[in-house]
């Protein structure tokens, strides 16, 4: 059952230097209870896409088009009050940096209770406190009765992220958007937080949209992966296919640039040549062609024509290379 359906989402930010095309026609579906990852470099449009789901892109001149259907209702067409009712109740968000995401002036208990109270006005103080305590317990904060009255600065980064997760889950949302939930954390804490998200997802039955640039995180908890580049989805595949048989040169490059235990000590880590394109002045044709080692083999096609997402095996890929060549060239590329 499709819970969320994003159709041809486009987000443009008007700036003094020109229009920034952060998202250029992204479409995807999320089923209830599913975990989808959106992967990409900084500036690929993944966070803007995630923020759009709750209409959280702010700025003097933000233009959003397309449709974001949440159980059939278009989030982009809702009134302010309607969106507010969705925020935190149907769709909740976990932010990247737990050190800045919590309000430093209020106790964590109050902040959790507030998230519940907004959507359940009139709840008694006593019940709210119970709810806050219960939430803290669920996300594994020790001594909740003592901790509930403490302020964010009295917690470690990992603990704060648990509190952010508690806030997100207090209303058992249908969709949980996690925008780089582990990026700001110590490596040892990262795994714990991912486990917690997975466990909470099980308990609440929420779908998870995970935004990350960390392929390790993707492998850990997701089922489906969308790779974004310069505001477009360039590959969409199951997590197994994406890792075993990437069907887009960019995905292949991403995978090869990750160090693993099998990488030899003196082996050079591969990197994708060049830098991500400016979103104000995108390259013509396929946005990846200036950095793609296969582009020259197709003549001028890559630099003139934007490739559409199409089926390649069981995945979808936005590349001009013929299917056989894609599978040939790329399938074996991840040989390690």
């Amino acid at each position: 059952m499709t819970l969320l359906s994003v159709q041809d989402l486009r987000v443009t930010f008007g700036t003094a230097d020109g229009d920034v095309h952060a998202v250029k026609g992204v479409s995807f579906d999320v089923a209830a209870g599913e975990t989808v990852a959106i992967v990409g470099e900084s500036g690929s449009g993944k966070s803007v896409t995630a923020n759009s789901l709750l209409r959280l892109n702010f700025g003097a001149d933000v233009r959003t088009s397309g449709r974001i259907l949440l159980e059939g209702r278009d989030v982009l067409a809702m009134s302010e009050d309607e969106v507010r009712a969705v925020r935190g109740r149907d769709v909740a968000m976990i932010f990247q940096d737990p050190l800045t995401a919590l309000n430093p002036f209020y106790t964590v208990g109050r902040q959790i209770a507030e998230a519940y109270e907004v959507h359940h006005p009139g709840t008694s103080k006593k019940d709210l406190r119970e709810i806050a305590l219960d939430s803290l317990r669920k996300v594994g904060i020790p001594e909740p009765t003592k901790r509930v009255d403490q302020y964010p600065h009295e917690f470690s980064g990992g603990m704060r992220q648990r509190i952010v997760i508690a806030i997100a889950l207090v209303n058992s949302p249908k969709i949980l958007i996690a925008d780089e939930p582990t990026t700001a954390l110590d490596v040892t804490v990262q795994a714990q937080i991912l486990e917690l998200i997975a466990a909470m997802q099980q308990e609440h039955g929420s779908a998870v949209v995970l935004i990350t640039h960390d392929l390790g995180v993707v492998a850990e908890i997701t089922e489906r992966v969308m790779v974004m580049y310069a505001g477009r989805v360039v590959e969409s595949a199951s997590v197994v296919d994406a890792f075993a048989t990437p069907t887009h040169p960019y995905t292949r490059g991403l995978l090869k640039s990750v160090k693993s235990l099998d990488t030899g000590r003196h082996e050079r880590l591969e990197s994708i040549p060049g830098i991500p394109p400016s979103l104000i002045k995108l390259p013509s044709g396929c946005p990846f062609h200036p950095r793609c080692s296969f582009a020259s083999s197709l003549g001028s096609r890559c630099s003139t024509e934007v490739p559409e997402l199409r089926a390649v095996g069981s995945s979808s890929s936005a590349c001009h290379l013929p299917n056989e060549r894609l599978l040939d060239l790329l399938g074996g590329a991840h040989d390690r």
Partner: protein, 329 residues
């Protein structure tokens, strides 16, 4: 928290002692001979010397400071029996120019200055924070432009200029208001209010200008904070978000500066008091400068210092109360 308050208070007392010593030394080092100033231009040396002895200026500086400090707690008597002058505690010295104890001079002028400062403070916080908030919430719209224009004009206008314009417009041309003549609050509240209306506005407009900018920038800065975004993502209403998240955070630094500005004003609004002919601390100080009335100058400087130090301490304690992150340390 109690420990925090106690520590800050002790620090304040030590600071005041240092300030008083410095003030005393600086004014003693002035080239003018305080004893010579006691009896006008054509004065016989014997009179000067007898006055020097009477006022204690013949003693070593450290001793003078000692009896000055002692006078604050026990009162002080100048001269021998018969022709002696007694200033009861807390004695801040004796003005030979005005033939009055400095403490009673300050006691009569302080309420005037306090009236000016309090009203101006309320007004300028209202105008400054109100207009600043409006400008931030309507960023880029005409309200923002008006507030910014107000801020620029207010910052650039000198007090005496704005004060004179106000008198021209409201008193001389239109006659809406009488020329300010100070009346005590307890005497006649209405006259008190009418006399202070113009000085309040002059001070408020000039001070509010800075606060408009500070509030506007503070709010816009807080609005970019991640925790405000989380507040939005929770589904908080705009109103609730602005009051409990944005203003709560943006006003903390403003409270700090406001406390100090208020204390500064309590030390005397020299220009404003002079223009509107209000018998406050500022005017007392100005007259003392003109007449080289050192005892008054020492005293008003110390009084102003007390206000600043006390305000600093209060603000520190308040800050700890307003920001939980400070409280912990």
């Amino acid at each position: 928290m109690i420990y925090f308050v106690l520590r800050r208070s002790i620090f304040a007392v030590v600071l005041l002692l240092i300030v008083s010593a410095f003030t005393f030394v600086i004014f003693s080092a002035l080239p003018s001979d305080p004893a010579a100033l006691t009896c006008g231009k054509n004065c016989r040396p014997e009179v000067i010397e007898s006055n020097r002895e009477r006022l204690g200026y013949d003693r070593p500086l450290i001793e003078q400071y000692g009896s000055y400090m002692k006078g604050i707690f026990t009162g002080r008597t100048y001269g021998e029996e018969g022709s002696s002058i007694h200033c009861p505690a807390p004695s801040l010295g004796y003005s030979y120019d005005r033939h009055e104890c400095v403490t009673s001079l300050i006691a009569s002028t302080l309420p005037v200055t306090a009236s000016i400062a309090l009203g101006a403070f309320v007004l300028w916080m209202g105008i400054g924070v109100g207009l600043g908030t409006l400008a931030a919430l309507k960023r880029g719209k005409w309200q923002d432009r008006v507030a910014t224009a107000f801020s620029v004009i207010g910052v650039s206008l000198p007090t005496f200029f704005l004060g004179l314009i106000f008198i021209m417009v409201f008193v001389i041309w239109t006659g809406i208001l009488p020329f300010p003549r100070y009346v005590g609050l307890t005497e006649n509240p209405f006259d008190w209010f009418m006399a202070l209306l113009l000085p309040w506005f002059v001070l408020a407009i000039i001070s509010a200008a800075t606060y408009v900018r500070m509030t506007r920038n503070g709010i816009l800065e807080v609005m970019n904070e991640e925790f405000v975004r989380l507040g939005i993502a929770k589904g908080l209403s705009r109103r609730r978000l602005i009051v409990t998240y944005v203003l709560r955070a943006a006003l903390v630094p403003i409270v700090t500066i406001a406390g100090l500005d208020f204390a500064f004003l309590l030390g005397g609004a020299l220009v404003t008091e002079s223009i509107f002919n209000l018998p406050g601390l500022g005017k007392l100080t100005l007259a003392a400068v003109v007449n080289s009335d050192l005892p008054i100058l020492v005293a008003t400087t110390m009084v102003a210092a007390v206000f600043i130090v006390v305000a600093n301490t209060v603000v520190d304690i308040l800050y700890g109360y307003l920001d939980p992150r400070v409280r912990a340390k």
